[in-house]
Structures are given as C-alpha cells and as structure tokens.
C-alpha cells in the first residue's frame, strides 16, 4: 500500500496550545511572485497556528504580505514552498473538488476589493455560494435575506453592487462570506469602508459568531476597535511574522503598536 506521506505526517502534528484545536497551521510558508526577471518575496517563511474559535487580527504595513498570507491559508493559491494544514490536512494533498468544497463550505472570504459579481444583485451574490453548495433557490433566498438583514442590507437586496455605496458593498461581501455558515472567516480589511457605527456593528457580529458559534475569525485590519476586540494580534512586516500579542499587552495609545 502506498503511504500518503503528507497526510500521514499530518496525523502526528500534536494539537498546539492547551486543549485548543489548531484549525489552520502554516509551516514556513514562502511565496515568490515572478514577473519576468523580477522576483517579489511576498512571504519569507511564515509559520503560525490559528486555533478554532479564535478571533485573530493581522496588522502590517501596505505591501507586507497580508493578502498573500490570506490567499495561502485560505487555499486560494499555492505557496512557493512550505505547507498549510487546515483541520490537520495538508491542503496540497487535496484534489480540486475537495478544495472547492473547502472554499465553499469551510471558509468564508471577505476580499479586500470585495469581488462582488457585478452582474448579480446583492441578494444573488449572497445566494451564489449557497447554490454552489447545492441549496435550492427558495432555501437560499430565505437564508440570504436573513443574512442581509443581519448586516443591515435587508432594505436593498435587489440592487447591483455598482448601485451601492462602498460600505454597503462591503457589507454585502460580509453577508456573502457568511452564506454557507463557514467555520472560518477570512476577512481582508472588512471594516475599512464602514462608518464608525456600522463598523462597530460588524465587529460585534464577528464577536458574536465567535462566541455563539465558535467561528474562527481571521482579519487583516488597522481598526483599533477591532484590534481591541480580538483574542490575538499578529504583526507582519516584509513577509515575516514579527510579533504576536494579546490586545491587553498592547499599548494602543502610543505609536508602538504599529
């Protein structure tokens, strides 16, 4: 019998932390973008564990590799080297149907540029991942309306993204990420375009998802309120993880936390 080494190896990764389940593990993940002769080292060996039910914030200057890290741990692109495990399974070993399942059911993405489908209405955007998951359209419509109300977009489900404000589009993107009740939410600056009040509401929503449904929330953010609400903050700079801390260990009043 041929032994699947990576899957076998994955079985022996000890659960990290005290009784906490490691839902995502990245081991020495590197990503090099090659454009002609120019190489960009977007990630230079990121190693991290993310625990189930954790609210993790990632900080870092523009171009430091946050979005790249998200793509790697979200199974949206292959790292140049290094391994990513989701639920102890090396995702490099998954076939495309399993990857699609993972992207559809397990992870909810909120992209930095929203990536709403422009030709679809807000409601249809939220229904799309549900139809990929095989839900029939009545069930999907009902659930999508519920989620849209949750993010405060219940009053304009039939608008196209182009007809919505930036913040409304962002909320539509958040609603879409919640479509298939994911265990993990990967959010790339999810509150960047929201006003204070709505931003707080969304942060509250993420916190509730974590508290009541043990959803793991990972978000890149510079939003103070969000950082304070999170369980752990992780700093990334020039493709390396340079610091992790709990919010209570960070002095948010000084410039130190940048």
């Amino acid at each position: 019998m041929k032994l699947d080494e990576a899957k076998f190896e994955a079985l022996f990764i000890p659960p990290a932390g005290e009784g906490k389940r490691c839902i995502i593990r990245a081991v020495d993940v590197r990503k090099i973008y090659r454009m002609g002769t120019v190489e960009t080292h977007a990630l230079r060996g990121a190693t991290l564990d993310i625990y189930a039910g954790e609210y993790l914030s990632i900080m870092g200057p523009s171009g430091s590799g946050k979005s790249t890290l998200f793509n790697m741990i979200g199974a949206l692109a292959k790292p140049t080297s290094g391994k990513v495990y989701i639920d102890q399974v090396d995702i490099a070993q998954l076939d495309c149907e399993e990857l699609a399942w993972l992207r559809c059911r397990k992870i909810g993405y909120i992209f930095q540029m929203y990536n709403l489908i422009q030709v679809m209405t807000c409601l249809e955007n939220v229904m799309l991942p549900m139809s990929f998951a095989g839900l029939n359209s009545e069930e999907a419509r009902e659930k999508a309306m519920f989620i849209l109300k949750l993010v405060g977009l219940g009053h304009r489900p039939l608008h196209k993204p182009a007809e919505l404000s930036g913040g409304q589009q962002q909320r539509c993107a958040i609603a879409r990420a919640l479509a298939n009740s994911p265990e993990i939410i990967l959010a790339d600056e999810p509150t960047a375009n929201l006003d204070l009040h709505t931003g707080e509401e969304m942060i509250e929503l993420f916190a509730r998802l974590r508290d009541e449904l043990s959803v793991t929330v990972i978000s890149a953010t510079h939003d103070l309120k969000m950082l304070k609400r999170s369980d752990r903050i992780l700093w990334i700079s020039d493709g390396r993880i340079v610091r992790t801390a709990r919010p209570e260990e960070v002095d948010f009043t000084s410039g130190d936390f940048h």
Partner: protein, 349 residues
Amino acid sequence: MPSPIRKQVKLPLSVAFGVVMQGIRIRLGRSLVTLAGVILGIAFLMSILVGQSIRRGVAAEVNTRREVKRMMSFLTAETGPLDDRVIGVVQVGPLGVEELRFLKQVAAAKVSRLNWVTRNGAQAPGGLAAAGRVSAVSEPEVGRDASAVLLAGEGEVPGGAAAGALLDGARQKVLAFTRKSATAPDVPDASVVQLERDKPPEELEQERLEGQRTRFRTRWIIVISLLVTVIGISNAMLMSVTERFREIGTMKCLGALSSFVRQMFFIESGLMGLAGSILGSLIGGLFAWLAFSFTYGADLVGSSLDLGALLGYFALCVAAGVILSILAAIYPASFAARMVPATALRSTI
C-alpha cells in the same frame, strides 16, 4: 470536532444555465456584439449557399423556358396558331419537366380540345387532366380532327403502322416528337417532325467545364466564409472570457468547480451560436433572395426557389453555427477553468 473535508458536489446544468442567462441579460450590449459576430459569419455562409442555389435554379429555369419556347414555335410552325385547333397527345411514358411545361402551355392556349392518350401504362399528369379542355380518349380517337399529334414522354415509341393509326382522322397529318433522343418512326402520308432537343456535344462539354469551375469557386468561398465565422466567434468568446476574468476567478474562490466554469462557457457559446445562426441564416437567406431578385427579377427567382433545399441550407447553417461556436469556446473555457482563484482578487478587469 473538525468536520472532514468532502468533495464539492457537481451542480445540475440548470444552475450554470441560470447564471449564463442572467449574464447575457445584464450584459445585453456586449452579448449583442458577440451575437453580431455569429450572425455575420453565418449570414455570409447562408447567402452564399442560397445564392448558389438560386443561380443554379435560375439557370435551369431559363433553360426550361427556352426549351418550351422552342417546342412551341416548332409546333406552331407546323400547325399555325393553336387557336380553336384540336391537338392529340400520345403520352408514351413519364414526361420530362420541359415537356410537361410545354404541354401545359399548349393546354392553356386557346385550343379547342386536347385529346389525351397514354400508352405503356404511363400516368397522365394530375394537374392537366383537371383542366377543362383536356379529354382522355381511346387510342383510335386521338387523331380525330387533330391538327397534329404529339408523341411525348420517355417510353417505347409506336412503330410505323401503329403511328400511322394514331393519325387516323387527323386533319393535318403531323406527328411531332417532343422527347429527347428519339428515333422518329416512318409514317406514310404524314409529316413527321422531330423537335431538335439534344444539345450539340461542344455545348455540353462547355457546360460541364463551366459547372466544374463554379463548383470549385463555391467550395472556396464556403471555406472562407467558415473561416470568417470561426474567427468571429472565437474572438467574441475570448473577449468575453478576458472581460470576465475577475468574475470567474471570484466564483472559483467561492467554490465553483472547474467543470462548472467550463459548462458556463459552453452553454453561453452554444446559446449564442444557436440564436446567432438562426438569425444569421434568416438574414443571409433573405439578403441573397433580395439581391438576386434585384438582378434577375423577382418572378424568375421566385419560380426557381427550391423550398426543400432552402430548409436544408438553413439546418446546415444552424448546425454549423452551433458546432463552430462550441468549438470556439474550447480554448477560452479551458483557460478560464484552469485559472488560479487568487488571480481574480487582484485583477481590476
């Protein structure tokens, strides 16, 4: 407990169909441009096929008309004007198109009667028997008061004595042949005329060469029009894939399978191909018809149109349009299906 990672389910075609229909509806302007590419190519193909058929039909029609006219003038040269005359017709077998047309014209002229006899078990043409002035008679009666007796049809010609018997009671003993390549029987006391219907060999050879040249030209033009169609359609499909790079990538990020993406493209191109080629063949056919009506006259073109052939060309063009569209989508579809999801997140298109 972590839930095990499973395989994404394959969606029914109707889901892809719905997404495609919506895309087409929303991007109506863009879809119409794509459609126009298909329409143009197929209209070109159809107009060439129909034009070809019309030209052939017109040539045949002109030939028939000329032949009929010649037969008519042969007959009237023997008998004088047909007004109030009795003409006997002995049909020895099935009639050719030209003979039939000629006999119809004779029947339609102001003859007082057309005595009709069939031999060798030939079937008298239906339309003629219904006309008032045609009367089926028994064989010896056919020549009674007749100015001429016509021997028509493809069959055994009665010999000398039998032919003479047919002229019994005729006013003028004229026995005329309308059939091609027949040997006239020798009939005493009668003038036997054979309508010169066979073309001289030089002319036949000329026609054959001409036919060959046209066939070659037609094939060549058809190949070019097919190329135009293929290039038009694949260009349109490629445009639509680059245009939707971001959208497709986003769908893959949200859990769409590659097969779903491929399906979307094939459904879209198939629909475009179907709609475009139906419209294109109608437009192309109509265009050819109008253009040829203009040059040859609507009457000539109208009477040479072959409905069966037209339907055949229509089916051919629609099939070609759909198949070519689907073929043209192979490359864009596999390109889109292979795309790495994350690329969609940076693309601004």
